[in-house]
Amino acid sequence: METVIEARGLTRTFGDVTAVNNISLSVRKGELYGLLGPNGSGKTTMIKCLTGQLKLTSGDVRVMGLDAVAQPVRVRELVGITPEQETPPSFLTAEEYLHFVGHIRRIGDTEDQCRFWFELLEFGDKRNVLCKDLSRGTRQKLMVAQAFLHRPGLVLIDEPLINLDPIMQRKIKDYLTGYVKGGGTVFLSTHILEIAEEICTRVGIIHQGRIIREGPVSELRSGSKHLEEVFLEAVRGDSHA
């Protein structure tokens, strides 16, 4: 099956801190890959490196067949990204922000896409509200919507459900599952293990910048173990090593 993300020896340091340390991984088309890790383990840095938002200290990354270091803008044209912290510009309304992204991505049917996402994530009543006045949850819905606006083949999502209520979490989980079934690929980073356990096809556990366990969820959960137990064993084992 076609590989959409291929990282080899990916390393990124910030001064004395090695945020991502010699990581190699590949994600195939149609997978819902979960990158699990405690806070500060390198998940966000990893996503930024994969999408050319950060330069690499060493290693190489190919995304959708392109070198993410040499062609970062082209990579970001092809993929969708939901960042963890960045918020939409303060003085645009929710609807204007989606139109703004539509202009940048040169999408022809932004209006239809807006309608779809406002309806799916139930925030049409906020379409005319300035982004700065939106609640965190609504901003997160908006950031999820903008990532899918151009119907990309690959979406990278950083902590997708953290500010959302259970009903909205269910909707997004269902959407992601359906999106993958339809041929899309999702690279999702989270520290909420239930999400990964429920929807991911394969996961990697990252700790202190290194992948310490990786495999299909069913394989990692040998016997009746929950993913939480696998995760805690791996992280604690690595900390003591």
């Binding site: 910030f14 801190v17 945020a19 840095t45 930024k48 999408t51 938002q53 950060l54 330069k55 803008v73 082209r74 970001r76 044209e77 990204i81 939901t82 960042p83 912290q85 960045e86 918020t87 939409p88 510009p89 303060s90 003085f91 645009l92 309304t93 609807e95 204007e96 139109h99 703004f100 992204v101 202009h103 940048i104 991505r105 379409r127 005319n128 509200v129 300035l130 700065k132 006045d133």
Partner: protein, 461 residues
């Protein structure tokens, strides 16, 4: 709070860059005082003293204003920043205690960073410039008090505003009427209106006491009657981005220009804040040129105005970059260079206001023959100045230019050009057209700037 204040600034500029700022102030005060005797005819000592005291009064007022209302700005710079000044909702501490701490913190911090270095520079130059050392010592006290006066004035006015905007309006009207009456009917000078100036020229214990009371009483009232309202307003607007993008359809970056227009219009103060923050200094320069003409009658007022306007107009770029950070775009398929290009087009459009001002000045003074060269001089200098601004400041010039390590190269690239053009325009105003020679270096600097900032990596750890 003191540590927080230091970290805010050092995070923005780096500790060394920020620590250089007071040294820069020492240098400017020293150089200004040293060369003052050469232009004391144009700027008499008394006028200079009034200007300096007024500046520190305004600085105090602006520091107080930023502290109280600057949350929006902080969040744009640092993400969801929360300063101790805003923490009374989450910590068991009263707003009164926080405001008092805030006042004391600002007093210590800004006296050390703004007032002391200026006076030190002045004192260092005093023996060479013929300024009595005692004047510098006196200025240390009166400038500190001017700053505090501005700070307490902002606090009391904002406290009154929260209780009743009408009462505030009444106070302002009464103050303006009182000042006008004092000046016109009682022949009172500015010195009588600003007590710290009075203290500088006629030091007395009584005046010192009165000045201290003017600082302490309003501050105490502000702390006592502080009322904090956490307004959770929701602003709604119909979709306007597409309509504006169509209007700017001639540009490939129409959506970026449209976004800048909406940012400017919808942020606090609306587009008016750009106009006023730009128009006031421009008006001041225009009036100052009339005064200057008395000393240098050969000066072409329109051409000098065009030269100064060219440099000042580049500050419009600071405004259009004020409302977002590149982090809002970093995950989209767009480069820093593209965003800067959009901002430059917004700058170009807003700069039509400068063109209108220059045309009005030319027609108003009957210098129609000089209008075309003045416009060309203005346009080429404005282009060069904004290219330099982009090179040193990228998408955050209003922050970066506070960094001494950035500000010095900026001055080095602007000031010599400005002085040269001013001088060559004296014998013949048409010589100012030499500014057209700035277009090639401007283009070169701009190209370098776009490459520089596109290669730049947003700090993210």
């Amino acid at each position: 709070m003191l540590r927080e204040e230091w970290r805010i600034h050092s995070t923005l500029f780096g500790s060394a860059g920020f620590a250089l700022f007071p040294l820069l102030l020492v240098f400017f005060a020293f150089a200004g005082a040293l060369f003052w005797p050469f232009f004391s005819d144009v700027l008499p000592a008394q006028t200079a003293v009034i200007l300096i005291h007024s500046c520190y009064l305004l600085a105090g007022a602006s520091v107080g204003g930023f502290g109280l209302f600057g949350r929006e700005v902080m969040n744009r710079r640092f993400g969801q920043a929360s300063l101790i000044a805003y923490s009374s909702r989450s910590l068991p501490v009263s707003e009164q205690a926080i405001l008092l701490g805030f006042f004391l913190k600002d007093t210590v911090y800004y006296l050390v960073f703004w007032v002391f270095p200026f006076v030190a520079g002045l004192a260092l130059a005093a023996p060479f410039a013929g300024i009595p050392v005692l004047s510098a010592a006196r200025m240390l006290a009166t400038l500190s008090l001017s700053f505090l006066l501005g700070l307490s004035l902002t606090f009391i006015l904002s406290t009154v505003y929260v209780h009743s905007p009408r009462i505030l309006l009444g106070i302002l009207v009464l103050a303006a009427a009182g000042a006008a009456f004092s000046v016109h009917s009682l022949n009172a000078g500015v010195i009588s209106l600003l007590p710290t100036l009075g203290l500088y020229y006629r030091p007395s214990f009584l005046l010192l006491l009165a000045t201290l009371l003017l600082i302490i009483v309003p501050s105490a009232i502000s702390v006592r009657f502080l009322k904090v309202e956490y307004r959770e307003e929701t602003h709604r607007f119909p979709e306007n981005l597409d309509r504006l993008s169509r209007i700017f359809g001639w540009s490939p970056d129409a959506h970026l220009i449209a976004k800048d227009a909406l940012d400017l219009n919808r942020s606090d103060g609306g587009a008016g804040k750009v106009v006023f923050s730009f128009l006031f200094p421009v008006m001041f320069i225009w009036v100052a040129l009339f005064v200057l003409l008395r000393f240098i009658p050969v000066l072409s007022q329109l051409m000098v105005f065009a030269i100064l306007l060219g440099v000042i107009s580049s500050t419009i770029y600071n405004w259009v970059t004020e409302f977002d950070l590149f982090t809002s775009y970093a995950f989209l398929p767009v480069e820093v260079g593209t965003v800067i290009r959009g901002k430059l087009q917004s700058y170009g459009l807003l700069n039509l206001v400068s063109v209108a001002i220059l045309v009005a000045a030319g027609l108003g003074t009957g210098q129609v023959a000089l209008l075309v060269p003045a416009l060309l001089t203005f346009a080429s200098l404005s282009f060069y100045a904004v290219a330099v601004t982009v090179y040193v400041g990228g998408l955050s010039p209003s922050i970066m230019l506070y960094n001494a390590k950035v500000y010095l190269p900026y001055l080095g690239l602007i000031v010599p050009v400005l002085i040269f053009l001013l001088f060559v325009s004296i014998p013949n105003p048409w010589f100012a057209l030499l500014s057209l020679l700035l277009i090639p270096p401007g283009l070169f600097i701009l190209r370098k700037a776009l490459a520089r900032w596109t290669a730049w990596e947003q700090p993210s750890y």
